[in-house]
């Protein structure tokens, strides 16, 4: 069966797309099928970026997520655009550092995460996406922290290697945060 259909959205540079890639990489690493599809073209050039990620035990028929089980939004335009498409009963994770508004739907489980503040605390102000990734790992229970850690080590090499530890720490912080909300 298909495990998770995920939509992740934010503004360009917040790391929505790379976060989605990491979930897909982790899924494949754990023996699942995975697809990742970015928005691109005019949409992306306007400043918002989003991606569809699917991890599944069976072959994935179609890679665009129209009704996500999990939706992670990193800025206000993303909340306004994507809240309505989440599957009834689905999960909405909101970066409350950037989004002061509350969700309006009552049929969703909504989690507010001050991801940028946590990233600032760890002195990695661009790492809010890793915090949200950690929260997703806890709530969904579909992929393991170790898989993400291995992927971070593989992704952050060379001049970027110094960010690997801090990113892993942020994922851990997100996982802890997810356990307590």
């Amino acid at each position: 069966m298909i495990k998770n259909k995920i939509t992740i959205a934010g503004s360009g540079g917040q790391g929505a797309l790379s976060m989605g890639q990491m979930i897909a990489y982790a899924g494949l690493k754990e023996g699942l099928e995975a697809t990742w599809l970015p928005s691109y073209g005019a949409e992306m050039r306007g400043g918002t970026a989003n991606c569809s990620v699917i991890i599944s035990e069976v072959e994935i028929p179609y890679p665009i997520v129209t009704e996500p089980d999990y939706c992670i939004v990193m800025n206000l335009p993303s909340l306004l655009k994507f809240e309505s498409i989440v599957r009834p009963g689905g999960i909405l994770i909101i970066n409350s550092s950037m989004i002061p508004e509350k969700a309006t739907r009552e049929d969703l489980s909504v989690f507010y995460v001050p991801a940028d503040e946590i990233a600032e605390e760890e002195k990695n102000p661009r790492g809010a996406n890793m915090v949200l990734l950690g929260v997703y790992i806890t709530i969904a229970g579909s992929i393991k922290e170790e898989s993400i850690a291995a992927i971070i080590d593989k992704t952050f090499t060379g001049s970027k290697a110094r960010f690997a530890e801090s990113n892993k720490q942020l994922v851990t912080r997100g996982i802890e945060y997810g356990k307590n909300i």
């Binding site: 890639q21 990489y25 494949l28 995975a34 990742w36 691109y40 073209g41 890679p63």
Partner: protein, 352 residues
């Protein structure tokens, strides 16, 4: 090797390298830019040549030159660039030069939008010619088809086109390069290839029409020998449940994946079959003979308006069933929901 997760465009480039492509010429355009980007990085490391040309026309003529020298050469583009490459592509069919042209389609006409689409099915250069045209539906298939395309081009001395929609280029999916098709054996030697100047014992002259035939002879042989041979050997299609289907869908690429999603959604209400051409030319006309008696209609979903492949589907149907188009709506590209709605509409009409 195990499965890796890669973007379709990168998979196409890697498969080409594994097929021995060592000459790439291109000009940037969304949504295929990761192909030249990958070659720009990899060609110098793998003893190949990457050139970003000054235009699509130049790039395609460079492909022609590299091919005439015997190299496995390739270019990639999207619809607006494909128009510009057609003149040289048509010339290569006449001069019998192999090459692989990858077209990652976007929404037209002309510059259109950068959204994924299936708009270039009918695009042809001048004069009569045919080229094997692959339509990948998954990332693995994009790899397999690109790899095989170089062998097919060499085997028949005829260019091969990979017609991928933007979704295949942009999405990441799993691919296992150990599962590429076997390399074809006994490919003809490129005795015609140019390799160096006369005084160095090279072959420096290329006959514009291969083997000294005249123009009509070349085209006549293509019609009577080459194309029938390709049709017989290379037609490829996936057929799902057409024997007892109430409605058969015929779609390629991402639209075919949408059909699979539609079957999952309403397959229990309406018996749906699927014909998915893997080659658009040769088109699998004969496959339609396998459609069973219960079938009352054909639906042809395409990510465009009006429909393009639908003409071939009508020819294949030969009046036996009504053929319905479903495609982009007034608000955006075709979706699985659009197909589901069309199926319901046609099913309702059938039951009346």
């Amino acid at each position: 090797m195990t499965k890796v997760l890669m973007k379709g465009n990168e998979v196409i480039a890697e498969a080409a390298l594994r097929a021995g492509c060592r000459a790439f010429f291109g000009y940037p355009i969304t949504p295929q830019n990761e192909i030249p980007e990958y070659f720009a990085r990899e060609m110098p490391l793998r003893n190949g040549t990457f050139i970003q040309a000054e235009s699509e026309i130049a790039a395609m003529n460079m492909v022609m030159g590299a091919s005439a020298s015997g190299a496995r050469a390739m270019t990639s583009t999207s619809g607006p660039g494909y128009c510009l490459k057609l003149e040289a592509l048509a010339a290569m069919t006449l001069t019998r030069l192999p090459a692989v042209v990858v077209v990652v389609m976007r929404n037209g006409p002309a510059f259109g939008t950068m959204n994924a689409a299936q708009e270039d099915y009918r695009m042809n250069g001048n004069g009569g010619y045919k080229v094997v045209t692959f339509a990948p539906s998954t990332i693995q298939e994009a790899a397999d088809m690109t790899f095989e395309a170089f062998d097919i081009a060499d085997q028949y001395r005829n260019p091969v086109v990979i017609l991928a929609d933007g979704m295949i280029g942009q999405m990441m999916g799993s691919v296992d390069f150990d599962k590429l098709p076997a390399k074809r054996e006994h490919l003809p030697e490129k005795t015609w290839a140019l390799h160096g100047r006369g005084q160095r014992n090279g072959k420096s002259e290329f006959l514009f029409i291969a083997e000294g035939k005249n123009h009509y002879q070349e085209k006549y042989d293509a019609e009577t020998i080459l194309y029938p041979e390709i049709k017989a050997n290379e037609t490829s299609v996936e057929i799902v449940d057409v024997e007892d289907a109430d409605i058969v869908m015929c779609a390629y690429g991402t639209a075919a994946r949408m059909c699979v999603a539609a079957v999952e959604a309403i397959g229990s209400e309406v018996k749906l079959g699927l014909i998915r051409p893997r080659t658009l030319w040769p088109f699998p006309y004969e496959t339609f003979g396998q459609i069973g008696d219960p079938c009352k209609a054909i639906i042809c979903p395409e990510i465009n308006i009006i429909g393009q492949m639908i003409d071939d589907v009508r020819i294949a149907s030969a009046g036996r069933w009504p053929v319905h188009h479903v495609g982009d709506s007034a608000t955006g590209p075709l979706t699985p929901d659009g197909i589901i709605e069309k199926v319901k509409e046609v099913w309702k009409e059938m039951k009346v």
